[in-house]
Symmetry: C2
Subunit: 355 residues, 2 copies
């Protein structure tokens, strides 16, 4: 029997014993003072983002009404569960597998369990997952946005329950959380600069959905590299195309135009492998006539012929960093530092698809 | 607060209230009658694998000593957690990603959470994971053996705690559990038969560790196809080689021998892509001079040039089936059927690396 009741259930029992005592919550304070729960939460932590007047008013009200922080959510050292919720946009995806592996390995070392759920790139599924994580009493969440997520209330709900969140890769700029990103801008800049330096005059950028931060940052890296070398860019040079199938569908026509591209920078290796396939279809030599660079550096990059030049993304390190930040927050070792923004360096791996 | 205490905690509280009453357990019965706990467990379920005499003796002793099944472990409908533990040998691996995705999607539909842990192919890590799953009170486990696991006590411990297990792909024949396998034998037979029919006279088999069931079954498929067509096989034709790097290391020498192979059947696509690379290195044409067939059909198979002929493994379906079997057991819908052995069909996908 002992095995079935690990020690971390004891605080739960303790809390249940005292559940009958009515107690004022963050939401009650928010309602009474007509502010948002997250404002109350931050004011109680003396966060300087909240004006001094508001902080004073909230702390005064909390004292007068005998507010006690929710033991389950805040008294983390003693009463938290040791389970972390991890949201993955797609499990069958090299980069995300690497991230999950990094999270899992650090979690195993630190004695945490991880609940894993995939959004399948759908906002509604992401919302459901967040609610299941709340019900499962996770102590923290590591997540990356689904491609079609552009509302963030569900994440705010986690924060309102004092569950810390770390975003990785596809981060959320709409709410105030910690993040791990790969250095998309620098990776993109380095790739495009290399293609220009090796003779490309018309480089197309195949991008993901434009509202995602990773698309914006890689686009900016591309544009800045083109600008630096005074290579002209027009709107037709940036395409929404982020799968192998789409690349095979749209690339042959572009290659048969008069003003055909002589370089492609793709948002991932799948797309780059599709471009390579399309070049072979229309009889153009890679890299002599067309240069191609991807982004990821997974198994695909080693398997193509020639092997793919790509930006190495270090997914495992992204996962490890996300876990470290979360654990720092949960175990209080991150100190006063708020909104840790960790950047994992990328590096260009030059192989056979560029000169 | 309500959100933080879902209904499924109530039976836990109830059980804690009655914990002081001493109660006879399966282990007590086992000790008293000098049999193993799993024998007791099976006898109490009237499993015909246990002799009628033993079953009678155990059931008599249990009645006389007022044995009550452990409510937490057995009264599943009311008191189980809704969390399943999933063990993955390697997360960064196309087939296992697909299996995990299949499990996750079915679990999400059925309202179960999944704890995910990777053994990294190490027996000791696998044992640790099982203990962490016991501590986390999972209601069932889905697992695939690490390459170096050849003892099964940790899995027996789960069964002794009445936690059902479903093995997938790398199954365990040492203990009595349910399984989902891909049809390795038939997939292997079909691939080798196709290579023989298209003119190969000397086909090498690159295998995984020989103690794994998947290696044995694929080897048998290979051997039986060779036998059927009276193609001679000698010991030098079966190699332990299951990574791209190993394939690139050992293949060129073999291709430069007098009696060089004209066909390779590899245990996975990574290895097959390494063989393809090695053929190009030594200047042999694929498929004109050498045929290659892999096993998996992931992203790699689409990316090589020529594209890989391979055996499609349907990882997603394996994961879905494993979850269905487990849920059938947990929710009692699988009825009396014991040791469900589900086989997911494979199919040969002929592409450019075979004639």
């Amino acid at each position: 029997m002992v095995l079935l009741f690990p020690l971390y259930y004891l605080p739960l029992i303790e809390t249940l014993r005292t559940m009958n005592k009515p107690q004022i919550t963050i939401k009650d304070i928010a309602k009474a003072l007509n502010v948002s729960p997250s404002t109350v939460s931050r004011a109680l932590k003396d966060n300087p983002d909240i004006s001094q007047d508001t902080r004073d008013a909230i702390n005064k009200y909390a004292r007068e009404h005998n507010y006690k922080p929710n033991a389950l959510a805040l008294n983390l050292r003693t009463s938290r569960s040791n389970t972390i919720g991890v949201i993955i946009p797609q499990l069958v995806h090299h980069f995300f597998s690497c991230v999950l592996s990094g999270i899992e390995m650090q979690a195993a070392k630190a004695g945490y369990n991880i609940l894993v759920a995939q959004s399948n790139e759908e906002y509604e599924q992401e919302v459901k997952i967040v609610h299941s994580f709340l019900a499962a009493r996770v102590c923290g969440v590591i997540t990356s946005l689904a491609k079609d997520t552009s509302q963030y209330d569900h994440y705010q709900e986690l924060l309102n329950n004092n569950i810390p969140i770390v975003f990785y890769d596809r981060i959320c700029t709409g709410i105030n959380t910690e993040r791990v990103v790969v250095d998309d801008y620098a990776g993109s800049f380095a790739a495009v600069e290399y293609m220009i330096q090796t003779g490309c005059k018309r480089i197309l950028f195949y991008s993901g959905p434009p509202h995602l931060e990773i698309s914006k940052n890689r686009r900016n890296g591309y544009l800045d590299a083109m600008r630096k070398y005074k290579v002209p860019v027009d709107d037709n040079m940036i395409k929404l195309c982020d799968t192998r199938e789409q690349a095979i569908a749209i690339t042959p026509d572009l290659l048969e135009k008069k003003n055909r591209p002589d370089g492609f920078f793709a948002i991932n290796d799948e797309t780059a492998s599709g471009i390579l396939y399309a070049c072979k279809l229309v009889g153009l030599k890679v890299p002599d006539e067309v240069s191609i660079c991807g982004f990821t550096d997974g198994a695909i990059a080693q398997s193509t012929d020639p092997k793919l030049t790509t930006v190495e993304q270090h997914g495992q390190e992204v996962g490890e960093s996300a876990f470290e930040i979360l654990i720092g927050r949960l175990e209080g070792t991150s100190g006063e530092q708020k909104n840790n923004n960790r950047i994992v360096k990328t590096n260009l791996v030059v192989r056979g698809t560029t000169k």
